[in-house]
Symmetry: C2
Subunit: 253 residues, 2 copies
DNA sequence: TAACAACATCACATTAAAAATGTTAGATAT
DNA sequence: ATATCTAACATTTTTAATGTGATGTTGTTA
């Protein structure tokens, strides 16, 4: 997987610097320029960056940060720790809602351990992970496909979801601040709110990087969640603050 | 793709004979027994056959014939001809419904030629084919996932579909007889009926093997379709009969 | 039921196929 | 005019498929 490592690192550099030079990348990774060309072509094809003469720059910083295909590459370690901690909250026989996002997709891959389950999702990654596992009954929330979030949204999704009930939902969000949870996309936001509504219990999955940031819209106050699942990277001051505010904090380890 | 060829042929033999012997397969394909073992293990894992001492037999002839994972392997030539003929009926800008089934999945792969389109489907194969094509807007009908049909069904699907409208739908069915169309599964049947209902026009896609057969339930009379798309294998007597009954017959060539 | 034969499985070796990368020569852009 | 890009092909690396032989299991029948 040398190739994917390299591309991930190119993306990291792009985020840090806004642009990269082809020669520098070739030197840095000790590969030929042609290889870097091919990397950049691929990433451009995925809509993540724009090639320029001699290098590349990010497509558009707003969309970029929000895009599933980019987020997919980042912080996998933390995300899978959060997913494992979420798994511990699931008991066989439950019906479980998973929202869009990579953390949820990772959780989807772990679900076979808790069979039998009913899995309700609008996340195509989860669908792929769950569809052919005996003992995991899959209910898909249809809707307009969003490449950005790799899932289904819109009015069709909302109405489909409104009819369903579940024991627990696992929700992710890109920003938490001031005991409020934020999200940049209002379509996704509406679905997430509904998921919280139709589930008996709801947990927020958010690695430590999500804290102290905001996004365009407020999703819900943090205390609507039964609990918040995060990784060990959260500052202890913040942990105390949340705990004293009565937030149930689950730190994956 | 020697491996897949071999496995497909093993399936064909299974259908013809009901069972196969391991030694004979190894001799027939000029490969080691171990390789045949691995083939059979794989196919057993997919639920298509049952290994027995010294060979294998089909899982259960009813389910077997009905199962997507099996049908996937058969008559690809005819199906893709039908799909191409269906494509000719689609104009850029339309909204198009594709039902479950391999023929629809093949048609899904051809759709980029007619961009822009809105594609409405409960067929996971179509979803995979269409999801990342710019200019194809994808609306998914969610529901309970059926491995057998590789798509989404049930009440969630029906209610989702009921709200939608489309210019044209492409429906497939396993059996046509006596100017009636049949289907073995009532969940799939309900969705197909709804698809016909919400589309301005509907076409039946059925290769010539489908004629003269029946299945458990009647789907609709043949004349509810705007047209019937089939391949050149239909007998000319049948062609005449259908034409004189006022059925619009489109023979792919 | 002991013991043999046929078959199945496992671990590892070998081979074949596919993917990634490198190289070069010509095309294109600044 | 020079640097960069692209395309075609060569090379290397990686992964998948198949084969082999040793070991384990099951079925048969003496």
């Amino acid at each position: 997987m040398r190739r994917d490592e390299r591309r991930k690192e190119i993306l990291d550099l792009l985020v840090k610097q806004g642009s990269v030079k082809l020669d520098e990348l070739a030197a840095h990774f000790a590969v030929s320029k042609m290889t870097i060309h091919r990397d950049l072509d691929e990433l451009e094809g995925e809509g993540i960056l724009r090639k320029t003469r001699g290098g590349a720059s990010i497509e558009s910083s707003m969309d970029f940060e929000a895009d599933y295909r980019f987020r997919e590459h980042r912080d996998t370690r933390e995300k899978s720790m959060v997913a494992r901690a979420a798994l511990a909250l699931i008991e066989p026989g439950m019906s479980v809602i998973l929202n869009d996002g990579t953390t949820a997709a990772l959780l989807g891959e772990l679900l076979p351990a808790k069979r039998p389950l009913t899995v309700i999702t609008n996340n195509l990654g989860v669908i792929e992970a769950v569809k052919s596992v005996p003992g995991l009954s899959l209910v898909v929330i249809g809707g307009n496909y969003s490449q950005k979030f790799n899932g289904f949204f819109g009015i069709v999704a909302e109405e489909g979801l409104r009819k369903l009930r579940a024991d627990v939902s696992f929700i992710s969000a890109p920003a938490i601040n001031n005991q409020k949870v934020f999200h940049m996309d209002h379509e996704a936001l509406r679905i997430k709110r509904l998921m919280i509504e139709v589930a008996q219990q709801s947990y927020l999955m958010a690695d430590h990087r999500k804290f102290g940031r905001t996004a365009l819209n407020e999703l819900v106050p943090l205390d609507v969640f039964t609990g918040v699942i995060t990784d060990a990277g959260v500052e202890s001051a913040l942990v105390e603050e949340l705990k004293s505010a009565g937030i149930e904090l689950i730190v994956a380890s």
